[in-house]
Structures are given as C-alpha cells and as structure tokens.
Symmetry: C2
Subunit: 320 residues, 2 copies
Amino acid sequence: MIFALAASPAHTQTDALPSWNDGQAKASIVHFVEQVTKTGSPNYVPPAERIAVFDNDGTLWSEQPMYFQLFFAIDRVKALAPEHPEWKHKEPFVSLLKGDLKAALAGGEHAILEIIMGTHAGMTTTEFEQIVKDWIATAKHPTTEKPYTKMVFQPMLEVLAYLRANGFKTYIVSGGGIEFMRPWTEKIYGIPPEGVVGSSIKTKFEMRGGKPVLVRLPEINFIDDKEGKPVGINQHIGRRPIAAFGNSDGDLQMLQWTTAGQGPRLALLVHHTDAEREWAYDRKSHIGKLDKALDQANQRGWLVVDMKADWRRIYPDKSK
Amino acid sequence: MIFALAASPAHTQTDALPSWNDGQAKASIVHFVEQVTKTGSPNYVPPAERIAVFDNDGTLWSEQPMYFQLFFAIDRVKALAPEHPEWKHKEPFVSLLKGDLKAALAGGEHAILEIIMGTHAGMTTTEFEQIVKDWIATAKHPTTEKPYTKMVFQPMLEVLAYLRANGFKTYIVSGGGIEFMRPWTEKIYGIPPEGVVGSSIKTKFEMRGGKPVLVRLPEINFIDDKEGKPVGINQHIGRRPIAAFGNSDGDLQMLQWTTAGQGPRLALLVHHTDAEREWAYDRKSHIGKLDKALDQANQRGWLVVDMKADWRRIYPDKSK
C-alpha cells in the first residue's frame, strides 16, 4: 500500500492548474512541462535552460481600459501638480488635471511620453520604489474597484508556480517600466527584481551628502516592446527561452525568437474573449491589439488560450 | 555517534577556502557569511537578498599585460584582415597588423573602440557566441602560455562556490563585454548567462530568411565601468548587493553603492602584490589602476586582499 502510493506519479495526485478547465490549452501546457522535465526523454531540457518569459499587461494582469501604469502616472500628475505650476498651461497636463483623459491622450505617444517623464523621473531609484509601493498598496481600479494587484490572472499564477516547481526560471518581459514592476512582482508573482525585464529610463550615479544615489533622468533608455523584447531578453537573460507567454502584437517577436530555437518550445497567447468576467478585445483594440500575432499563432500552431472557455476563474478572489 | 556527527557544524569539518592562507582576509569572509546566514542573528539576511557582485578582469582572472578581451580583439583583426582591405591604410589596424601593438594603442580609447567595433559587430549574437567559444577554447596567453580560462584565481573560485553554497546569488559586474563573457562563465565560474552584467553594444532584431536573428551593431549600448557599475547592477539585478569584490578604481562606485545599504556588508579589493606568481601593480598601473579605491578602502575599513600573503595558490593548476 505504501509502495503503491509512493510509485503513483505526482501529477495524478494533485492538479497544478486547478483554475484551468480541462481542454487543449491545459493539456498542452502540462504535456510540454512533462516532456522537457522527464529524464531520458528525447525532449529533455536541463534545468539551467528552462527559461520561461511572460509579458505582463494583458498576460499576467488586466490592461483595460488602459495600461495600469498610466493610471499610476495620472495619479502622480495630480499629486505633483502643486509643485508644477507650469502644468496649468501645458498639454497634456492641463487636460489631465481637468479630468479630461481623452483630450490629454489625444497627443498620442508624445503625450504619454510627457506624462511618463513628468512623473517617473527626477527622483532617486529608492524614492521611486517607495512611491510605487505606496501607490500599489492603496490605488483601486476605476471600474472593478479592486486593488490592481487583485487583477492578476489566477490561471497564470498557477502556470508560474507550476513552471518553477518544475525547475523553470520565470521572467517578466514587459513593455511596462522595469522599476514600476519590481517593487511588487516578487510578492504578487513570485518573480524577484532580477527576473524582471522592462522598459527603462536612464539613471545616473551621484554622490549626495556623501551617500551614493541613482537619479532617474527624463531620458528613454530602452523600450522593451515588439522588436525590443528579444533584445531585452538577450541583454538580461542571455539565453533563449523555451517558453513564452503573451497576449498582443507587442509579444509577436518574443514568441518568434523563442520558437526559433531548437527542441521543444511552448508559445502561448492569451486571447481576451470574456466581456463578462474581464474584457473582450483583439484585432481592433487600442490597448493590447492582437492581430498579426493571432494570424501567426494560427499559421504556426501556437497555443491560443480562450479566456472565456479555458479559464475557470479569472482573478484570485473567488467571486469571478 | 551518528547524532554527534550530524550535530557538528559543517564548517568545522571542511575548509571551504583551502587556497586562502589563514589570516584576516579569510577570517573576515567567513565571519561575514556566518553572520548573514545564521538564523536568529541580528545580521541575518534572507537568501533572496544575498546578492554578491564580482568584477571580472583582475578580480576573477588576470588582466596583464592587457585585458584579455583585447587579445581576443587583436586575434580577430588578424583573422578578419583579408575581408577588410581598407584596414591596410587605416589606424589602428595598420600598426596592429604589423605587430606594433604600442603604436596601435597610441590612439588611446578611440583606438580601442575602433578595434572593438571592427571585431565585435556586424554578425548575429549566435555567430559571435561561437567565435568567442572557439577562441577561448584555443587561445593562449602570450607570457604564461596558459589558456586564458586557466588564469582564473583559484581562491576566488572558492569564494564563489562558498557563497553559492550559503544561498548567495553570484553575479559578474564587469567593464568587459557581456557577450564576450557569457559563452564561458557558466563552465569556468559557475555563473550562468543571466548572472553576467557587462558592457554592451546595441543589437537589432531582424528576420533573415524567415528566421529571427539579433544583429550586433557598431554602436555602444552601455559601459559597465566606474559610475556605470551601480547603474548596471540596478538595471540587471534591481537589488542592492550585500557583498562586492573588485580590484581597481573601476570598482570604486560598485563598492560605494554596495556598502551604502543598511545591514552587514562585505567590500573586498584584490591587491595585486605578487610579481612572481602573478603581477604586482596598483596606483600607477595603466591597466587595473588601484589608487582612489585603495585610499577609500583604508579609510572605510574595506577588506584589502594581499595576493602574495593571503593566497596560497593563484591559479587552479597546482604549479603556482
């Protein structure tokens, strides 16, 4: 009896992915992990090479009605307005402070860049870390009224844990700001600061009162999106991933880069199909547009997760 | 008897640093590690925060009579010369191809940059990795006639292994090229590609014949030296190290950044004092100048390792 229990394979005893409905998506993930971890299997991959990369916005947490980092930036504009009287006469700040988000963002990428630089630069890295920690602990999403860290996807938390339990290193590779994510990814995703790759602004080493600080400069250092994702992966990790998880055209090159390696590969796209429990959007969305990558997924047999059908639950709280 | 063996602390049974002579340097390293790993100690540091950073040139391997990466670059100039007829009329290549290294390097940093860009850019990352692997497997140092990977410091290999055995993550933070180190650091130092921070040139994602590649461009991306080291640490690791190992003024800011954090810190400088077994140089050396950092070490009580007195052995082979 004891022998029978001990000999029974672990995966029949517990389900590592309880928030996934049974179906092709779940089965494919499990099959991939079993393949690469089984000693003697022709597709065995040594632990050191088990690198998995995850986009963040729309893949690990929601991204509607706009990227959560933009809500952070807008809250910062409001908080910093008293120190910036010039913002009363300067777009996009004028519109933003009036509460007219649509007008503020009418300037497109340039407007967003102005907002980011006005709110993310000028302080030390330590100060910025604290600002992010304070915000993420208190801010609530405008429509769900949940803290943003409760809008992470429970099925993906399970995938992260399942991969790590099988010897994988899990990385975030996001277009979002690296220093915006690091203060909370360890607690929320189990991904430490060194596992986060993202966009960044330049920093400068300075001595202040005999103490060294890194000052955040209003200058782009790196954009970790689209063609930038393989560049960021190479720069930070220096090894090609064997598994990549995304949800939009911003992840296309990361999935191409990952699947171009030899041996077994897993490429997965989260398709937002659930207007009731989350949001439904793809080819025509302004945020998280999924068009070219969806075509490639269909052509190349990448796994497309149908959020509505494949996910038993969306968020960690049990209500949805 | 079994109980007595099991209860005996591991460090009294085996010496983790056998190539270190007994003395203050060795004792300080061991004391630091015991402090931060002892549960309940006021100086206990959780494993996730046990980050140790190591300079490479002059700290983990030798760097005389010039940085080993420059020997690589020179070998590449010779190998590539047939494809570059214009080098016959262009410095520093003319002098280099004539074998007049002194004249070639008379142009200072600009000349070095020309040599690096002429030899490190233009190919894909995969191609460059193979070039480095081939070179490191065969090239020999001009005076010792050893392979370069046999000119790593045995006492430092022991420190790396000792720290990792005590839950540390060990990183290289070097002014050398990140892609020049990664192909061999895992085998030689036990440090995987993702544990290497270094200088870099820009890369560009491209599709070639339906396959994605990263092409190395002749454009500096980041210089991981002096003020750049804390910037590189923050960018890659995102956490302040608790231990830093260097040997020159290029490491000063890394040691300042590391020791400015709260709690126990270890800052160590390797002082090259052994003209017989290795090289002796410090304040006036052209390579690996140790001047300001030595003053700061003396003022601030950083550990200065006297290579001649503190190291029983220099290289892994038993001859020295």
